[in-house]
């Protein structure tokens, strides 16, 4: 099964495509996108953004402690987020965690 985190095993019985591999030398690997818009993830890379709720008040995604909630725009960087291509995650600008 072609799933993230799938365990690799040793077997002679697996389907052929599951036990064939290519070697990709690091020096030959395609460089990772480091800026611009990621079509795969739908976000600009390393460009801080607010996430505005589609509910009528349009509040922003924010942090209360480490918990995520919606709050009125308030100028705090806990309302800013950034997509990090290296980790494929959305990081908080206002609080590293």
């Amino acid at each position: 099964m072609d799933n993230e985190n799938r365990q690799c095993i040793r077997t002679a019985e697996a389907a052929k495509s599951a036990n064939e591999w290519d070697i990709l030398y690091v020096s030959d690997a395609k460089p990772e996108q480091t800026k611009g818009f990621s079509k795969e993830f739908g976000m600009h890379i390393d460009r801080p953004f607010f996430l505005s709720s589609g509910l009528p008040s349009g509040r922003y995604l924010d942090l209360i402690g480490d918990n995520i909630a919606i709050k009125t725009p308030n100028g705090f960087k806990t309302q800013q987020w950034s997509f990090d291509m290296k980790s494929r995650t959305i990081k908080s600008v206002g609080k590293s965690g």
Binding site: R47, L51, T89
Partner: protein
């Protein structure tokens, strides 16, 4: 499932894609979801089965393209002039004004025109009433909104 921040591991439960106004998990396809569709201050955000309703819809507003906050004029929503110092005058007979004693508790005292501890401004960025003398502090309900007293406290823009 509740949403929170946690040290970066790039496990599947930290990977989301923004697609058609939904922020969806790469494995479960569950979306950022305002709990109970509650459009209120501090409403919790979960992940939930993709329903495509308003409480799962989001708009990305890049900071460099966001509207700038107004720095002057009257704010109709909050009823204050922006950044224009004012006194808060009691309508009791002596017409005393609110003062932030020692940058902490709020009491009423006789007006002293040169005392900035008696002056307040409304800040359009944090949406709070700030004290002019203790400018990093805003009018706050004690006890995280549960206490009886009013004070000035470090600005945090929480609902209280």
């Amino acid at each position: 499932m509740n949403l929170r921040i946690y040290p970066t591991s790039s496990e599947w439960y930290q990977i989301f894609k923004f697609n058609n106004g939904n922020m969806v998990n790469c494995k479960t396809n569950k979306a950022f979801d305002v709990a109970g569709a509650s459009d209120t201050e501090g409403a919790n955000v979960n992940t939930y089965k993709l329903m495509n309703r308003a409480n799962q819809k989001w708009k990305i507003v890049y900071v460099d393209e966001a509207d700038k906050d107004a720095t002057k004029g009257f704010n109709k929503e909050y009823g204050f002039q922006i950044n224009k110092p004012f006194y808060i005058v009691s309508t009791l007979p002596q017409k005393r004004v609110v003062e932030a004693i020692g940058g902490n508790n709020l009491v009423i005292k006789s007006l002293r025109r040169n005392d900035e501890g008696q002056q307040f401004t409304w800040d359009a960025v944090s949406k709070t009433i700030k004290n002019v003398k203790w400018s990093d502090k805003s009018v706050t309900i004690t006890g995280a909104g549960n206490g009886p007293n009013m004070q000035v406290f470090t600005t945090n823009s929480r609902w209280f």
